[in-house]
Symmetry: C2
Subunit: 208 residues, 2 copies
DNA sequence: TACCCTCTGTGATATAAGTCACCGTAACTT
DNA sequence: AAGTTACGGTGACTTATATCACAGAGGGTA
């Protein structure tokens, strides 16, 4: 476990790694599992050591709006934020690639903020990055039309998975952008005509 | 100055208040002045002791999308976030009611995080609240149509100014929601017919 | 092979929102 | 009082997006 943490969180000092080993628990999730739901109480701060997690905002009618990916070496900012106040989650986190997660009880997360500099810096850095990320999300939905949002979405997925083949159906993409399948199908068709993508069944090759 | 700080930031301990008095500078801004632009370097963390500040996200074509208000007793989260990394601002802050601001050099802001518990808690709390706030913004633009967004917008303004009379022209509202004046005029007309508002020139009475 | 289910394509139509043109009026200026 | 400007109202039109209906193709399974 020590090596895994060192590799993904190289800035953690040895004291912190020791504390994590002693107190945190490891959990494994399969692709497709939901890690956290809106409205659930949060009992742990989550660090990711392998796999991929997608973070969504949900609405009352069950819409699932995609915001960003979490990668190995990162942490769920919302789990830190809510932890501080024993509050319920306002987001939904779904594992999309088998994942190994380190679960840190919130009392310790709080304690380490005061006692361990490397943890403190990691938490602050996490806040910063996620704040910037959600501001980028706002830019996209506030200022851009669906065709540009779709391009951005495909780029995000290509980069997060490190692979030009985005394995998603039009329906899935539509849900994550909160629009309808037909709209996505038509926009993708246009992108194909412009030479930006190749369309296959449940699978898009990104050429940009 | 000591009293002003105590009133608006009751959780700051005396050591912190003393440090602020010694090291921070006070600045006054008139309504309409821009406090911070996208792309500008941030040299201070900003605390508000009087007046109102509005925070916007800007796009390349000069669009100004309204996100939230800052009130006395609050701080600009983005100024804290950027401060940490000597980065440029990604938001625009406009004073809309004559304001008194405490400017804290970023080196001190950083130092106090480690040395003063009451400051640390205030900063974390600020991150938390603003993060929640931008997530609410995302909900609105991702899931709601313009009529609901307009209602929410009017409610925000009513509450922030503590006054049922929102003194804004249709054009100003349209810009802040990134739409056009005609759309706002028509939606407001419908709201008036439903008895939700009274329309005057450059001024709307909110009845809900 | 026959069947089934999911995925995709597409036409027709509906609705929300954006754009253009123009006008009347309130408020301000001098 | 006359001129000027910002503000708001509205009709006509365009465009983007949403919805409905249906058909054909791909891939799995009995």
């Amino acid at each position: 476990m020590k090596e895994t943490i060192q590799i993904h969180f190289p800035n953690f000092n040895s004291q912190l790694i020791e504390d994590i080993e002693k107190n945190a628990t490891i959990k494994f999730f399969k692709a497709g599992e939901v890690l956290m739901r809106s409205g659930q109480y949060i009992k742990n701060t989550v660090l990711i050591t392998s796999g991929k997690v997608k973070i969504y905002r949900e609405d009352e009618e069950g819409g699932e709006f995609f915001m960003y990916y979490l990668q190995p070496g990162q942490a769920c900012a919302v789990s830190m934020i809510c932890a501080t106040k024993q509050e319920t989650s306002t987001i939904m986190a779904k594992v999309v690639e088998d994942a190994e997660l380190i679960m840190i009880p919130l009392s310790l997360m709080e304690k380490w903020m005061a006692t361990n500099r490397t943890w403190y810096e990691f938490v602050i850095e996490t806040y910063r990055n996620r704040f910037e990320e959600v501001l980028t999300v706002i830019d996209n939905i506030a200022f851009k039309a669906m065709d540009q949002r779709l391009e951005f979405y495909l780029k995000q997925h290509k980069e997060a998975r490190n692979c030009n083949d985005v394995k998603l159906s039009h329906q899935e993409i539509a849900s994550e952008l909160n629009t309808s399948r037909e709209v996505i199908s038509r926009l993708l068709k246009k992108m194909e005509q412009r030479g930006l993508v190749l369309l296959h069944r449940s699978h898009i090759t990104v050429l940009f």
